[in-house]
Symmetry: C2
Subunit: 218 residues, 2 copies
DNA sequence: TTTAATTTTTAGACTTACCTAAAAATATAA
DNA sequence: TTATATTTTTAGGTAAGTCTAAAAATTAAA
C-alpha cells in the first residue's frame, strides 16, 4: 500500500505528465505540491525505488505503467466522490474539491466498486473531467475551451480550467454552472471578449474568462 | 484541528471511560490501541497540553468536556458512515467497520450535516449503537444482552458486543442479523445455554454467544 | 566557450508518532 | 511492613516527510 503523501505525489505527477507530455521536472512537482524541491527529490527517489516511476538525477521523472495505474486509481476515487457529493448530498460543484481531496485516500476497492454502482457508473465528474475506469483507463475528454468557439456556436458548460474559488464564485453570479447552455452571440476581434447568452440572460465576458471555461459541443 | 492519531486516542479513551467509569489507566489505552504504554504516555501528555483531558502521572486520565466533544464527533462520523455503507451501498453489517474507521477522520462539518440529512437522521448505527447528535450528546441505549432475557421473552437483534469477524460470520450462518427477532424458548440452568427461535428456525446457542448479542425488548 | 543564472541534489535538522530498555512509582503479598 | 510484582514514566532512538542552506549539475547568455 501507499502512504497519503506517496499517493499525492503520484497524482500530481500524473496530472503534470498530461500537461507537459515530457519528463516532469522536480520544480514543477514542487510548485504543484506547494512544497520545496528538496522534498520532491527525496520522495521521487523513494517512489523510484518502489518502481512507481523512472528517475535519473537532474533529468526529471516519468511514471511507470504501475505508477500510472495507482495515480489513476486515486483520481478515480476523487472524481467518484465528487459526483457523490454533488448528486447525492447536493453540494455545489465549487465546494467539493477539498472534501474529495480527503476521500480519495480511503482504501477499499470494494467501496469504490459499490460507490461507482450506486452513482450509476458516471463517466464525468461535476467539473466535466473524465473518471478513469477500474483499470485506470481514462477516456479522452471531448471538452474544449469556450474561447475556441466561433460566433453562433453553442456549448454545454462541463467544467473550468483553473478552479480557484474566486473564479467559481464569479461564475455563480453569472448563473453559469455545470450543464448550462452557452451561446456565443459575438466575439470582439481586438480583445477576444465575447457576448454570450446563458439561459435568458445576455452579457459580456472577457477573453480570460472564456479561456477558463470548458464546454462540450455536439 | 487534530491529527489522525490524536482523534484515535480521544475516541479510545471515550469508549474506555464508558466501560470503566473511573480514570482510564495508561495500560488500558495501550491495549485498546494496540500500542505500547510508553507511546500512550507521550500522547496523553500531548493531549493534556491541548486541554483535551486531565492527566496526573500514574493516576490515569479523564477527558475534559472539550475532549469528550471531539471524541463524540469522531464516533458520530464513524456511525453515520456505517449507516451509509449498509443502507446505501448494501454492505453487510460485518464488513463496514474497517472502512468507517477511515471515513471517520474526514474533516468537514458541512459533509457530516448533509450525510446525516441524506440518511434521514438515523439514531442508531447498523450494530445498534447510538449515534451522537451534533452536540456530542449520546442517548442511552436501551439495548441489553440476549443472556439477560428470560424464557418466552423476545427481542430484536440490535448489535453485538465483541465484533470479531469470526463471531459475525457465525451469526451469518445462523441467519442472525440486525433486525432479526429472537425468541427465547428455554434456558439451561447449569450452563446458561439457550434454545432460541430466529425466523422459522429453532436451535441452541451457548451462554457465551448469548452474552455477546445485544437485543432490544419493548 | 567561458561565465552567469537556474535547476536540482545533498547534507543536516526538525516534528510526529512510534519503539525498546531502564528507572521510578504504585500496588500486592508475605 | 518489607519485599515482590505490576504499572507507568523517562530517556534515547527510528522512520516518514518536511525544511534550510550549501554544493553540484545543467542550461542560457555574453
Amino acid at each position: 500500500m501507499f502512504t497519503l503523501a506517496e499517493e499525492n505525489y503520484l497524482k500530481a505527477i500524473f496530472h503534470l505528465e498530461h500537461q507537459l507530455k515530457s519528463g516532469v521536472p522536480t520544480n514543477a512537482i514542487a510548485e504543484r505540491m506547494e512544497t520545496k524541491p528538496s522534498s520532491v527529490t527525496d520522495m521521487v527517489q523513494k517512489l523510484a525505488d518502489k518502481q512507481m516511476l523512472s528517475y535519473q538525477k537532474y533529468k526529471g521523472t516519468q511514471l511507470t505503467v504501475e505508477g500510472r495505474k495507482i495515480a489513476a486509481g486515486v483520481i478515480r476515487k476523487h472524481r467518484l466522490w465528487e459526483v457523490f457529493l454533488v448528486d447525492k448530498l447536493n453540494f455545489n460543484w465549487d465546494e467539493v474539491h477539498e472534501i474529495a481531496e480527503q476521500l480519495e485516500h480511503i482504501q477499499s476497492s470494494e467501496l469504490v466498486g459499490r460507490l461507482d454502482e450506486f452513482l450509476g457508473h458516471p463517466e464525468f465528474d461535476p467539473h466535466g473531467d473524465p473518471i478513469p475506469d477500474k483499470h485506470g483507463n481514462l477516456k479522452l475528454t471531448q471538452k474544449k475551451l469556450l474561447s475556441e468557439l466561433k460566433e453562433n456556436q453553442h456549448g454545454i458548460c462541463v467544467g473550468v480550467k483553473e478552479s480557484g474559488t474566486d473564479f467559481l464564485k464569479y461564475l455563480d453570479t453569472k448563473k453559469i454552472s455545470i450543464g448550462s447552455e452557452i451561446i456565443v452571440l459575438g466575439i470582439e476581434d481586438f480583445d477576444g471578449s465575447m457576448n454570450i447568452q446563458v439561459e435568458e440572460n445576455q452579457f459580456f465576458i472577457s477573453k480570460k474568462t472564456a479561456e477558463n471555461l470548458y464546454v462540450k459541443t455536439n
